[in-house]
């Protein structure tokens, strides 16, 4: 570090405390022009807090933020911060009902004599989009754009204000493989052009691919700062996880299905035939599959292939137009989650904020929501202590970290919220667990823990598992993997471990070599 040239932005001894939680403890980090810095850490390690402080949404309790060696503007002066640093958050901040041009200049529209200057707004948007080689009409509403296109609008809009610093908070979470590749090309081009990038991700391989340096946070403190090429994946993981690394790797080693003798195929638990359903998440055009008792089946495909839709149809969260679903030989009515639950299906939804929990209510109440009828007496009386009693074993099994089981779930970190969602599905002792991308947005250690828990519980209780995911790592715990292409079953892999290349080819609808 040369003392003459200041980093474009640096945090010096930044600390932040929320109530009893020390979110950050004297964190030092710096972004330099033309470098991409990866920020890693488990859920709750303080990444989001650091991002909020760096982009001026939160003030630090101690320490300071400097831009080019100058003190940062006061917290709350959003305009001043935005002219220095551009942030693209994990959750899209695009307003879907507004046009591309309006979103690009949200809160900062060009004005002519006090009224919005639409003409120069459109012209400027067109110019920026051309720079990005991105061909959309500035007047089109963002609701019609794909997730990737919306993200480009966000990044381009953030940078259009002339800043040379870009914070990307888990930008690949909602992207398909090709979208990720294109995003990386764009980020590389920006970095080559002298932009400083802070890249936050849970994915080790992404960090190794595009980051020059890595900084790792653990419990609010910087535990590692190093150039990426000098590190191995294992070093990075152990820095993030700390001393709990050992049991986690053990869980990982135990989980692949290959190590367990395949159960003899017993009776059919779930039989789905010729399901037709329309959905914005990917429509189904006659999908059929069977899950046997005790079997763990993976389901994967491209974003619009209908993987999530099929999972949602089975648990009753989404209706269908044609086809049948039979569970233990009995038909399941369409669009009735309560009926699916009563029949013995546990549901771990894709979007936990939307379907996973009630944020205002406590942990034990959320965990036992699926079994409230069972817990309650004949008169329907259900005391909070009865719920806590029922929830505690699950909370301990999944190592939910909280201030107590009455704590509202909205206050928990993302990984712990996901554990609550999983516990809610497991509480009903289901005969089939349907999990849709259960590890999305969950850090490495929690991810291993979740997969190990799913694997262990299905083995211990004899429950079947239907795991819909586009993370190929997750699918390794499955006995077989079904690949959907455009709403239909395309092919099936029955021999774990599954090869990523073959899976990718299959999701694209290509018949792998040596298979027919």
């Amino acid at each position: 570090m040369s003392p003459q040239i200041h980093p474009v932005v640096e945090a010096i001894g930044v600390s932040k405390r929320f109530g009893s939680t020390q979110a950050l403890l004297s964190v030092d980090t710096a972004l330099r022009s033309g470098r991409c810095l990866g920020l890693m850490g488990r859920n709750g390690a303080g990444k989001s807090t650091l991002v909020s402080i760096l982009c001026g949404l939160l003030g630090a309790d101690a320490g300071e933020v400097r831009f080019d060696g100058e003190p940062a503007p006061p917290v709350g002066d959003i305009g001043a911060w935005r002219s220095r640093i551009a942030t693209v958050f994990q959750h899209s901040m695009v307003v879907p009902q507004l046009t591309v041009a309006e979103n690009m200049f949200l809160g900062d529209q060009p004005r002519h004599r006090g009224v919005v200057d639409w003409r120069s707004m459109r012209a400027e948007t067109r110019r920026v989009l051309r720079e990005w080689d991105f061909n959309v009409d500035p007047d089109v509403e963002c609701v019609t754009l794909t997730v990737e296109q919306r993200q480009i609008v966000e990044i381009a809009g953030a940078l259009a204000r002339g800043t040379r610093i870009l914070l990307l908070d888990e930008p690949t979470a909602a992207l398909e493989r090709d979208g990720v590749r294109r995003l990386f090309e764009r980020v590389r081009a920006l970095v080559a052009g002298g932009v400083a990038v802070l890249y936050i991700s849970h994915h080790l391989e992404e960090v190794f691919e595009i980051c020059h340096d890595v900084v790792v946070l653990r419990d609010g403190e910087v535990v590692l700062t190093a150039p990426t090429p000098t590190l191995t994946q294992d070093q990075l993981v152990s820095a993030m996880v700390g001393d709990v690394a050992a049991p986690v790797t053990a869980a990982r080693a135990a989980s692949p299905a290959a190590r367990v003798p395949r159960p003899a195929l017993s009776e059919e638990r779930l039989a789905v035939s010729d399901i037709v359903a329309t959905s914005t998440r990917g429509s189904l055009r006659g999908a059929s599959l069977v899950v046997h008792a005790g079997e763990r089946v993976g389901l994967t495909g491209l974003l619009g292939a209908g993987v999530a839709t099929l999972g949602r149809v089975i648990v009753g969260a989404h209706g269908y137009q044609a086809g049948t679903i039979r569970f233990d030989g009995r038909p399941l009515p369409p669009g009735r989650p309560d009926a699916a639950l009563a029949a013995g299906i546990g549901y771990i939804p894709e979007d936990r904020w939307l379907e996973g929990f009630v944020g205002l209510l406590g942990i034990s109440e959320n965990m036992t929501m699926s079994i409230a009828r069972r817990l309650a007496g004949r008169l329907g009386i259900l005391t909070p202590s009865a719920r806590t009693l029922a929830a505690r074993p699950l909370a301990e099994q999944l190592s939910v970290v909280s201030r107590g089981l009455g704590q509202p779930v909205a206050e928990l970190s993302g990984g712990n919220q996901q554990k609550v969602t999983v516990a809610r599905a497991l509480a009903s002792r289901p005969k089939l667990i349907v999990a849709i991308t259960p590890t999305r947005g969950v850090d490495v250690a929690s991810k291993e823990l979740l997969l190990a828990a799913l694997s262990d519980i299905t083995r211990a209780t004899g429950a079947s598992l239907l795991l819909a995911s586009d993370e190929f790592d997750d699918l390794q715990i499955c006995d077989r993997v079904i690949v959907l292409v455009r709403g239909q079953v395309f092919t099936e892999f029955t021999e774990p471990p599954y090869d990523d290349e073959e899976l990718i080819a299959a999701t694209e609808g290509l018949v792998p070599v040596g298979r027919q």
Binding site: P337, L341, E355, V358
Partner: protein, 348 residues
């Protein structure tokens, strides 16, 4: 209070004890927030005593109790609907129409009745049925037909009030049977029966919300409808159910009002504009218009607050022409004070 970071390394019994302690503490915090208005009520009692020596008398306070009882029962109904994430403007018309239909079937033709001369017991059953049917229509149309709750219940408000007016040609119905007016008019010792019934309803609904499965479902559905659905809660049933309960409670409120004034006027409810006070009481009491938050203790405090303010203004000889402006100002003030005392819970 250190965060429990690694439960697997912590002694389990110690952890359980800590968990127990914390959930009790959280419950205590929730109670204090629900009662955020209590200091405001104390201040009002002091102001009331200063304004008039008649204020702190049994007869005056009993009168206040009787006045707020009818409103209070409607507030319980509206709170349930708001907590589940809906709204019902038509409760004020149910408040008028349900007793009107019942009275119409009970009083003679000469007194503008239908001449059927039904018994008071039958009349009260009809009243409850009218409330339930209106609530059911609202619930089904909003939940199943997916009509906007605000617009649909606004239309219902006007339609129902029109029926109330039209069926008796704008007349008021007097000579109600004593059994019909009992709940609204009678006293047990020095305490109005209506106040006892309303208090019982508040307590019963409060316990139901805390300790009954369906009561908890109301919070779950109001807090996150999709999550509740995914957890197997019969969301549509719960939502329709609270509209029905709201209709029945509004009808009971109307019964109390009819008893208190010994008649059913064609203006009862809608033309008195009681729905504004209903919403004001619920929101001041911490029931979130976004759903999922609030409780009966807060709602009860909101009702008492409105009643005390009205009473103090009456006793203080405030000019009739100014009473509404001051009333509105006090409601705003109470809302802001509740916000300060109650914190986030009373934010929306």
């Amino acid at each position: 209070m250190p965060e429990v970071r690694e439960p697997e390394t912590t002694n389990t019994t110690e952890l359980s004890a800590a968990v127990e302690h914390r959930s009790r503490r959280l419950a205590a915090v929730a109670f204090v927030r629900g009662a955020a208005l209590l200091p405001v009520l104390v201040v009002l009692l002091i102001i009331g005593s200063a304004v008039s020596s008649d204020f702190f008398t049994t007869s005056n306070l009993a009168g206040v109790g009787q006045q707020i009882s009818a409103l209070g029962v409607v507030v319980v109904g509206e709170s349930l609907i708001i907590m589940v994430g809906g709204m019902d403007l038509s409760l004020e018309s149910t408040f008028g129409l349900a007793p009107m239909v019942a009275a119409w079937l009970m009083v003679p033709v000469a007194a503008y009745g239908a001449g059927t001369l039904w018994s008071p017991v039958l009349g009260i059953l009809v009243l409850l049925a009218v409330g339930a049917i209106i609530g059911l229509i609202n619930g089904v149309m909003i939940v199943k037909a997916r009509l906007n709750g605000f617009i649909f219940t606004l239309a219902m408000t006007i339609i129902l009030a029109g029926i109330q007016d039209g069926m008796v040609n704008g007349q008021s119905l007097f000579n109600l049977p004593a059994a019909f007016t009992y709940v609204g008019a009678a006293y047990v010792g020095k305490i109005p029966v209506s106040l006892l019934v309303t208090a019982a309803i508040f307590i019963a609904v409060g316990l139901f919300l805390r300790y009954h499965r369906v009561g908890r479902d109301i919070y779950a559905v109001g807090g996150n409808r999709e999550a509740a659905r995914a957890a197997g809660v019969r969301v549509d049933r719960v939502r329709i159910g609270v509209y029905v309960a709201g209709g029945v409670l509004a009808a009971i409120g109307g019964l109390m009002e009819a008893g208190r004034v010994s008649s059913v006027a064609s203006t009862q409810g809608y033309q008195e504009g009681i729905i504004f006070n209903v919403f004001a009481a619920a929101v001041i009491g911490g029931v979130s218009l976004r759903g999922g938050r609030g409780g009966m203790l807060g709602a009860a405090c909101g009702v008492v607050l409105l009643g005390l303010v009205q009473n103090i203004l009456d006793l203080g000889n405030v000019s009739n022409y100014w009473i509404e402006a001051i009333d509105g100002g006090v409601i705003l003030l109470a809302l802001m004070m509740a916000r300060v005392v109650g914190g986030e819970v009373t934010a929306e």
